[in-house]
């Protein structure tokens, strides 16, 4: 007999297996690229000869030899060097590590705050809900970058500059997104008969929320997580670009681009291009995963809602008339201008 954990996992990946091919390709490609970045960021330092903050090389005799300034790409420095004698590839690798770490921390912070608040707010409703929604909306409408800068500024002034501060600054921006999605989803799940069933069985509110509501709203979180991660890479880079990110000379893509801008006018393209390419690639990869997951999970959410009965029936062969993957017929989709028809699907 399979273990409960394995069962749970199998259940969790089931929507992925039944998703459309496009969605699966999106997720797979995005994940592969992200993994390449991860591997490069965390493993490359063990074998690449330079590190991101290194501008000189120690010689066997104990003296230091400085790296060249603004050297074009070569066998020695595959992506060239910068004005400050740093190796561009090394900085991209280290910058990638920073980006991934900050993204992970920031989205985790946002998730850990946003999800429980959303759950509570949605399930309890009333005054608490109204207050939280107002606060979150206020945070949400605040320009995200400005908010991140303020938080980063405050944290750096009162705590320490560095990765945790940057992560927290980026994370605060995303709390409302988790909150809103989870809260709205909770509101609809709360109406489901199985939640009332849990109450009728005598379950405590805590049990109802954790076992019946949470498990059913948590599905939408991975989508926000990946989409936020993509956005977080950009926010972090923007902070760095504006000088509110981590402290130089820590390698950071946005900061590096800001330093490289003056190089472009003198024909030095490699110092700005490669960090830019890195940002675009990672953001694209994460977005692919997010969009793909959205496709995987959303049909499921739809199915669990209105069409649930139909899909379920089809699954056990009772309603073969309309297979699961065919939308409930709306003649309007095919026949929007066929006004003679009794059942026109005007809404489609």
């Amino acid at each position: 007999m399979p273990s409960p954990l394995r069962l749970r996992l199998q259940h969790a990946v089931r929507p992925f297996r039944s998703a459309s091919r496009t969605a699966r390709v999106l997720v797979t490609v995005g994940l592969l690229i992200t993994i390449v970045f991860g591997v490069a960021a965390f493993l490359a330092p063990t074998f690449y000869r330079y590190d991101g903050e290194q501008y000189r090389v120690e010689q066997p005799d104990g003296s230091f030899e400085q790296l060249p300034r603004l050297a074009p790409p070569s066998a020695e420095h595959p992506l060239g060097t910068t004005r400050d004698r740093y190796d561009v590839l090394a900085r991209i690798i280290d910058g990638g590590r920073l980006a991934l770490a900050v993204v992970l921390f920031s989205t985790l912070i946002a998730m850990l705050i946003g999800v429980p608040l959303g759950l509570l707010s949605g399930y309890r409703g009333g005054k608490l809900d109204r207050v939280l929604v107002t606060v979150m909306d206020a945070v949400y409408v605040f320009p995200p970058l400005l908010l991140a800068i303020i938080v980063a500024f405050l944290l750096q002034a009162y705590f320490a500059p560095g990765v945790p501060s940057a992560a927290a600054a980026v994370g605060v921006v995303y709390i409302p997104q988790y909150f809103r999605v989870v809260r709205n989803h909770t509101l609809s799940v709360k109406q489901e008969p199985y939640v009332e069933a849990a109450r009728s069985l005598g379950a405590k509110e805590r049990t109802v929320i954790s076992r019946y509501v949470l498990f059913n709203v948590i599905q939408s979180v991975p989508v926000i997580f990946t989409l936020n991660a993509a956005d977080a890479v950009l926010t972090l880079a923007s902070l760095g670009f504006l000088g509110y990110g981590v402290q130089p000379p820590t390698p950071e893509w946005g900061y590096d681009i800001s330093q490289a801008i003056i190089d472009i006018t003198s024909g030095v393209w490699w110092t700005a291009l490669w960090p830019g390419v890195a940002i675009v690639t990672l953001v694209t990869a994460l977005t692919l995963v997010g969009e793909g997951l959205n496709d995987v999970i959303n049909p499921l959410l739809r199915a669990r809602g209105a069409a649930g009965a139909k899909l379920d029936a089809a699954a056990d062969g009772e309603d073969l008339g309309e297979p699961a993957n065919v939308d409930p017929l709306s003649p309007g989709t095919e026949d929007g201008s066929g006004p003679g028809l009794a059942g026109r699907g005007f809404r489609s």
Partner: protein
């Protein structure tokens, strides 16, 4: 598992079929919000509006009604899943209405609910085993995982899911509709409840599966000594399954009593209409004289005054509670039947219906052709499709149009007819003490 409950419950003092549940004057109203934060004054949907009945231990009591009759809310109120506004629910002598959610929780072991839609009433994130076993964990009824598992397996077998082990690790989406409903039943019964509210438990199932689930429910009722409150809109199922039946209309019983007597000799026109309307697989019934009520069940936000069924009732007469809006409705209804010239002429007499000032006891038409309209109302209003004209006591032509007044129409109280409570003026005009009346109820004429 069968019959494992101790038979010596202190209240049941063997043999006597005392009430397990007594509902007295139960009201469940839902206030309606009109603004964003304001509550709309006294405006409320009176989903359950003064219902009293009792359920005897071991019987199946049917709550029958159309959608909007309040039957589902009544079932939920009894289980305190919806907080009643007033009244009392005596379960084994203890009033549930004032109990807090926390105090209710241990009692929920004994009170179970079976839902209409099995697809939606199982948590999609729990396996069948987890879902059915969860009540045991909630009430601490199993000392170990293994014991809980054994109980779940036994219960699944009891509801006909075999081999039970094969179902434990399935998710609800993997089992068919009929099986899902068996899972729901297993979950409801695993704590050995005494009282089960079954809300349309077979309505979502196919005919051939339906019979199987009903069979199971009856079998379980006998074996586990259950008492059912069976909520349904389907009279045929109700007749087959229930010992006694209450017919609900807009939050009130119109009549209730022994199933067979109620079906063989319905005393309320609404019951008769329901029986007439149900389509039966018998082509010879085809040409029966159906007396269908007009229209549909009205908005519970503003139920008709007097007898709530009177606007649709084929047998309604003067004291049934005719009021202003009934006249407007009757005119509209008449105009679907007459030819276009008649419609235009009568519309000309009455003027735009939207301009009429309508209250419970009178309607004022600000019509120019006052005298003609008054003549029409006096002499031709009996052509209207409902009996509204019988309640008109006065047609007055004034400077500001024509005013039509209606006689009193009390809301009927339940009175004993053919050995059971019936709320209908046809058996003698009665006045419900806290009812919604038209005019002065004591002035109502007696008898049809």
């Amino acid at each position: 598992m069968t019959g494992s409950r101790p038979a010596s419950a202190p209240w049941s003092d063997a043999g006597s079929n005392g009430p397990l549940l007594e509902v007295r004057d139960l009201h469940t109203h839902f206030p309606v919000r009109t603004g964003l934060f304001r509550r709309g004054g006294d405006l409320a949907v009176r989903a359950v509006d003064g219902v009293s009945f009792e359920v005897r231990a071991g019987e199946v009591f049917g709550l029958v009604g159309e959608s909007g009759s309040g039957k589902t809310t009544l079932g939920r109120s009894i289980l305190k899943l919806v907080q009643p506004t007033s009244g009392s629910i005596l379960y084994r002598g203890r009033d549930l209405v004032p109990l807090s959610e926390r105090d209710m929780r241990p009692l929920r072991r004994e009170l179970a609910l079976i839902f209409q839609d099995p697809n939606a009433s199982l948590n999609p994130a729990m396996t069948v085993g987890q879902g059915v076993g969860h009540p045991l964990r909630i009430h601490g009824l199993a000392s170990s995982r293994a014991e809980a598992r054994d109980q779940v397996v036994a219960m699944l077998q009891r509801v006909g899911l075999e081999p039970a082990e094969a179902f434990l690790d399935k998710y609800p989406e993997d089992v068919s509709g009929g099986q899902k409903q068996r899972v729901v039943i297993a979950r409801a019964l695993i704590t050995h409840p005494r009282f089960v509210v079954a809300d349309e438990p077979v309505a979502a199932l196919d005919m051939s599966v339906r019979a199987r689930v009903l069979e199971l429910m009856l079998e379980l009722q006998r074996d586990l000594e259950l008492t059912y409150l069976f909520i349904t809109h389907d009279l045929a199922t109700a007749r087959f399954l229930c010992d006694r039946i209450g017919i609900l209309y807009l939050g009130n019983f119109v009549e209730w009593g022994e199933t067979d007597r109620l079906f063989d000799d319905p005393q309320h026109p609404y019951t008769r209409a329901l029986l007439d309307a149900i389509p039966l697989p018998d082509p010879s019934r085809r040409d029966r004289d159906k007396q269908l009520p007009r229209g549909e069940i009205p908005d519970a936000l503003a139920p008709p005054l007097g007898c709530r069924f009177h606007p649709r009732c084929p047998a309604a007469f003067a004291p049934c509670g005719w009021e202003g809006r009934d006249l407007i409705e009757a005119l509209e209804s008449r105009w679907t039947e007459v030819d276009e010239d008649t419609f235009e002429r009568e519309l000309g007499l009455v003027g735009q219906l939207g301009d009429a000032e309508v209250t419970a006891t009178e309607v004022r038409f600000p019509s120019a052709s006052g005298v003609e309209l008054a003549r029409w109302l006096r002499h031709e209003a009996d052509q209207l499709p409902s009996a509204v004209a019988t309640a008109i006591t006065d047609v007055e032509v004034g400077a500001h149009g024509v005013t039509v007044r209606f006689g009193p129409g009390p809301e009927p109280a339940l009175q004993v007819v053919a050995g059971r409570p019936v709320a209908c003026h046809l058996h003698g005009v009665t006045v419900r003490p806290d009812g919604d009346h038209v005019g002065d109820p004591t002035a109502a004429p007696r008898g049809p």
